[in-house]
Amino acid sequence: MKKVVVNPQRCVGCMQCMIACATAHSRTQSLFTAALETPTPKPRVHVGAGLCGDGFPNRCRHCDPAPCMLACLPGAIHRDPELDTVRIDPDRCINCASCAMACPFGVIRYHVDPLGPPGKTVAVKCDNCVDRRREGRIPACVEVCKSGALTFEEMGAAMKRQTDAVARSVASEVEGKPAIPAGVALHRALRRASWEMNQERKENSHEG
């Protein structure tokens, strides 16, 4: 079964996945009208900033066993075997936050959801775009990602791709092509240099 694979080294921090996710979980399904809906649709994938400001798309891992499911007293969280997806039933959710406390990745949010019961704050997280999948479409975050940080593939294929990439980088002197393009490497090195400089412990106040 194909799954969403996160390739963190490819994230450029553009947050397109967040916008696409919020649109995919809106009533009107188009960016321009979704932004005008009440309640406002919210993303279920969240791009965080790493130490040097590098992006990372933080998304539900659909763990098995899932700590959130084990922590849910009213039984609102279940596994959908068809798409191997951990899902939340908003009608059963009692907004207790137990699942968020149990989640090791901090991917569960609480708000009134355009697709949930009107006016009821519920736990919301990634549903692997089940509705889109049934229409034969791939998850919205993957569709919009142009840098390859989010891909939709068979786990076996993804692992082989990763293994090959590592093998190529080890042999890069022979092949002459670095695993990370020079421009990206330069961009990241400068980010890191700025970060390190701002972290300096050495006191440099001139007035105090």
Binding site: M15, G53, K146, P181
Partner: protein
């Protein structure tokens, strides 16, 4: 949990006021910067294109996703087009500022600008001479009228080359001619850049970048230079003046008015109004001990250079000075004015006033200044500021101000040297002074406030490199105490002796950011005195904390004029290895100078020292290994 204020700024006033802002619940530029992280990598690398609506497009820097925009433009073309438009916006900003001064000059000549006049008639006449105007037997206003007309011609399309290119060394002009980048008209080059970067026009990244240089030169040897010179004619050519700096220049017992922006046309009239006996009496009546005018950013630099008006802070301090609760009124003109200021002021009693027909801001009252009504409106505003004194709440002034000497125009530098640049050239030839560096540009929340400027300048003067500075960099060094004669003690032995003999600081304040052209004029004069080109001189430029399009244009006109320039933050070009290589290496063959990018000022100092020693070696002077 928020980061320590020590990570945000090295300036004690900023640190304490940022703590106050946090306690008061005031959102600042650092909060908004943190909220923006991670920054979009496509945009940071220059790989997103929003020029047309077949797109927007982006290029995958990893090489697997899209490699061309809808139109077919690859990474090189997209990065070059984006950079070209950045330069056009920067050149347009300074040059439009210059236009406002030319219009004021024209209205002074017509007698329609009450309060303004010709403050430096000698400069008016010599500048008119550069434009081929016969000034004999003409009164000042007649000369001003003809000069304003001639200056406006430089903005247009009827010239083959800008008049003031004549100031550049002959070798430099030859280079521009050979490359086809001698600017023809100030507005023309900006307009042409917008045309070239329209979809389907110039799609050779090298040719776009050549025009970007021409566009930047149209600012450096055109719009900015006119802005600086006409400001001197109207408001006076700066001379060394004692002054003070940091947020402590605000006064607890006086009405505090702060001017912010870039154009001296507004602030000069505010200054006049603040000095009027009637207003001072009114302030006393309201329980204040007078009226204290202070500046921030480059309007502050303009007033400080000419009148010694105290400087409350640079770019990242503009919100913080309001959190003192001591500002009765902030009056802004244009450029670098954060649209958040109205919201900050709303937490205190501060009245916010916008003055330019082309710059409006949320939370500000708009009172439009024109040369013919400026005097009247300035009087009304100062009266309102004085009346606002009684609404003041608690005041927090965390530090005492630092003293500084400012006002080193080219004329003042030559004067300090005894009337000719010879003593400076001799000191450089003997090696007492290794060379000179212009440290310029903004603040940027990516870099701890003032850390880039202050660290770099400290290392340069320690190593006998004379520093000239402008803009927010100049405010940083004033706050750090580098602008006093005593600061010579921080310099290396050679520079120290020269500074002590001439009684000048080791860091000379040359003005606001349009005044970077003063540095070009000085460099040209030195090159002409040696019969050589600017690119042969042991000099360098640096913009350790730059953020704006204007700074990008300044950097490029420095490089295109032959000055090696080290940037702190990276411009959005890493998406194209070709563009990055051209700007950091290839330009050396074309214009004899390149950019370097180095966020760490300690390393930037080494780059500059190495460059200066290399240039000394090439000139046959003694050179050290760095």
């Amino acid at each position: 949990m928020k980061d320590s204020v020590k990570e945000k700024s090295i300036a004690q006033d900023s640190r304490l006021l940022l703590e106050k802002a946090r306690a008061d619940g005031v959102e600042t530029v650092w909060d908004r910067f943190a909220a923006q992280l991670p920054n979009c990598g496509y945009c940071e690398m220059g790989l997103s294109c929003r020029i047309c609506v077949m797109g927007p497009c982006r290029i995958d820097p990893f090489g697997e996703g899209p490699q061309r925009g809808v139109c077919g433009a690859d990474a090189d073309i997209i990065v070059a087009r984006n950079l070209g438009r950045m330069i056009a916006a920067g050149a347009a900003s300074h040059s439009d500022h210059g236009r406002d001064l030319v219009e004021t000059l024209a209205e002074v000549a017509e007698g329609r600008a009450e309060g303004y006049g010709i403050a430096d008639e000698a400069k008016l006449r010599s500048f008119a001479g550069e434009y081929g105007i016969d000034t004999n037997d003409k009164d000042a206003l007649a000369v001003a009228a003809e000069l304003a007309e001639a200056l406006q011609e430089d903005y247009g399309t009827r010239k083959k080359a800008l008049t003031l290119l004549a100031r550049a060394p002959e070798k430099r002009r030859e280079i521009w001619k050979k490359l086809g980048i001698a600017p023809r008209g100030i507005d023309r080059e900006t307009s042409e850049m917008m045309h070239r970067t329209h979809m389907g026009v110039d799609n050779d990244w090298q040719s776009i970048l050549l025009h970007a240089m021409r566009n930047a030169l149209s600012d450096g040897w055109g719009g900015s230079l006119i802005a600086s010179e006409v400001s001197d004619i109207l408001c006076g050519t700066p001379t060394p003046t004692p002054t003070t700096a940091n947020a402590g220049v605000l006064k607890k017992d006086q009405v505090n008015i702060v001017v912010h922006g870039h154009n001296p046309v507004v602030s000069e009239m505010i200054l006049l109004a603040c000095q009027s006996p009637e207003m001072i009496a009114l302030a006393r009546e309201k329980g204040a001990d007078g009226i204290n005018l202070a500046g921030v950013c480059c309007t502050g630099n303009e007033l400080q250079m000419r009148h010694g008006i105290p400087m409350a802070g640079n770019h990242l301090s503009t919100e913080l000075v309001l959190t003192t609760g001591a500002v009765e009124m902030m009056i802004v003109d244009y450029q670098c004015i954060m649209p958040s200021l109205g919201q900050v002021a709303a937490c205190y009693h501060t009245k916010m006033i916008s003055t330019s027909d082309k710059a409006r801001f949320p939370g500000m009252e708009h009172r439009e200044f024109h040369p013919d009504n400026a005097r009247k409106i300035a009087g009304e505003l100062v009266r309102e500021a004085v009346e606002n004194f009684s609404r003041r709440g608690e005041v927090y002034l965390p530090v005492a101000p630092v003293t500084a000497t400012t006002g080193f125009s080219v004329e003042a530098v030559v004067q300090a040297l005894g009337g000719t640049p010879e003593p400076l050239l001799d000191a450089i030839k003997k090696g007492a002074i290794r060379g000179a560096a212009g440290v310029v540009g903004c603040n940027n929340p990516r870099i701890k406030q003032d850390h880039g400027h202050v660290t770099l300048m400290r290392r340069l003067i320690e190593n006998d490199i004379l520093v000239v500075d402008t803009g927010c960099a100049a405010v940083a060094s004033a706050k750090a105490g580098f602008k006093t004669a005593e600061a010579a003690a921080m310099a290396g032995d050679g520079l120290k002796a020269v500074c002590q003999a001439l009684k000048i600081p080791p860091v000379l304040h040359m003005g606001s950011c349009v005044d970077n052209v003063r540095i070009l004029t000085l460099a040209s004069a030195l090159a002409n005195a040696l019969g050589t080109d600017i690119s042969d001189l042991p000099i360098a430029g640096a913009a350790p904390e730059w953020y704006s399009e204007k700074a990008a244009a300044i950097g490029l006109y420095f490089v295109a004029s032959g000055v090696y320039t080290v940037l702190g933050p990276m411009p959005p070009i890493t998406g194209s290895a070709n563009v990055a290589r051209l700007l950091t290496q290839g330009l050396n063959d074309a214009v004899g100078a390149t950019f370097a990018v180095e966020p760490d000022p300690e390393k930037a100092a080494l780059l500059i020292r190495r460059h200066i020693e290399d240039k000394r070696r090439n000139l046959g002077l003694d050179a050290k290994a760095v």
